[in-house]
């Protein structure tokens, strides 16, 4: 069983103010080490086992709109951004799952400006 550690993460919507019909940039970042399994630990001298995110899902109110398959070549504290067309009020959730079975999610409310 993989250890479940609460990681810092963020979901950001840019620009800050938007209306229904606007295309916004939804970005996601998580404090994940993204170990490739090839680097040594500086203190112990042992090779650190691979530990990286495999799946990322962006969903709106539980309905996925973007799925990503990623692997170890991505840097630590990975950053992902997608474009999204705002249709209504709701909540964007980003879920991730790594190769050791660790899961996490982060969400952000979508609040379009009243026309």
């Amino acid at each position: 069983m993989a250890e479940t550690k609460k990681r810092r993460a963020m979901v950001k919507i840019k620009p800050k103010k938007y209306a229904v019909g606007d295309i916004v940039k939804v970005s996601f970042m998580v404090e994940h080490p993204m170990d490739t399994g090839m680097a040594k630990d500086k203190e112990t001298g042992k090779v650190k086992p691979a530990h990286y995110i495999e799946d990322i899902t962006f969903s709106f109110d539980g309905e996925p709109f973007t799925k990503m398959k990623v692997w170890e070549s991505i840097s630590a504290k990975p950053f992902f951004a997608v474009h999204y067309k705002v249709e209504k009020k709701g909540k964007i959730t980003v879920d991730y799952k790594d190769n050791l079975g660790e899961e996490g999610s982060k969400s952000k409310k979508v609040k379009p400006k009243e026309a």
């Binding site: 810092r8 993460a9 963020m10 970042m29 950053f79």
Partner: protein
């Protein structure tokens, strides 16, 4: 013989040119600076701000802070832009981090250390509430603020430590270069309004007070403790330098 002499002269000349040109080189090229601007878009310290928002919600959100500071919730952002302030309840000129600590004590009797990540994150979130507002610190608001400001000004130019350096030794003239880095101009570059910031050299977010401590350590001075009277005074002085300039508060910052 003459040829050798000429060679020597030429070598000497070319060496001086190389050295002169080397003086023009900084650790950051123009292309690097452009990359920095792009990186600001995905500042990792945003994660700390998000975490800070969650922690602050547990503490009671803006309403609790406004109640603690005895200000109208609508004017809270403007009030935050004027920190460090003299808070009568706490009997001292304090930074926002100490206010948050006092709120923790009031709520549960327990508190996080001033150098803990929880306080750093919360401080970043609370200060980010004042984003897009100009710094409005009033150093003449009362006699406590006045004395804190003058203490900060004194500390800024007082030589300490075995190297006999003061802050002013390096951070005085614009464009001073230290180890190939151009030092920031405290006022014009909005130092008070861009910390807490993510530091790429440390891969983490630190506050202005913590950054000053690192600077003191490098300069051979004993670092002042976080939240001490002297440290807050220094923050008051540095923040006041950015007052009246064109920049607005922009939290979290993004630094070397």
């Amino acid at each position: 013989m003459n040829g050798l002499l000429l060679k020597k002269v030429l070598l000497g000349f070319s060496l001086t040119t190389v050295l002169l040109l080397a003086g023009e080189q900084f650790s950051m090229s123009e292309a690097d600076k452009k990359m920095y601007e792009e990186l600001k878009e995905n500042n990792p310290a945003d994660m700390n701000v998000e975490e800070g928002a969650e922690l602050f919600e547990e503490l009671g959100d803006e309403a609790a802070l406004a109640k603690f500071l005895e200000v109208d919730e609508k004017k809270l952002a403007n009030y935050i832009a004027g920190f460090p302030r003299y808070i009568k309840k706490m009997g001292n000129v304090v930074g926002l981090d100490q206010v948050l600590q006092a709120m923790q004590v009031e709520k549960s009797g327990k508190k996080d250390a001033l150098d803990s990540e929880n306080i750093f994150s919360m401080l970043a979130y609370v200060k980010s509430l004042a984003n897009d507002i100009k710094i409005n610190i009033d150093v003449k608001a009362n006699k406590e603020m006045e004395s804190s400001f003058s203490l900060g000004k004194k500390l800024y130019s007082e030589a300490r430590g075995y190297r006999g350096l003061s802050c002013n030794s390096c951070h005085s003239l614009p464009g001073t270069v230290l180890r190939t880095q151009i030092l920031p101009e405290m006022g014009a570059q909005n130092t008070g309004g861009t910390w807490p910031a993510y530091r790429m050299t440390l891969s983490k977010m630190v506050t202005l007070q913590e950054r000053s401590r690192t600077c003191m350590r490098d300069a051979g001075q004993a670092p002042l403790p976080l939240g001490s009277k002297e440290m807050v005074a220094l923050e008051v002085y540095i923040t006041s330098l950015a007052k009246g300039k064109k920049h607005e508060i922009e939290i979290p910052g993004f630094k070397r």
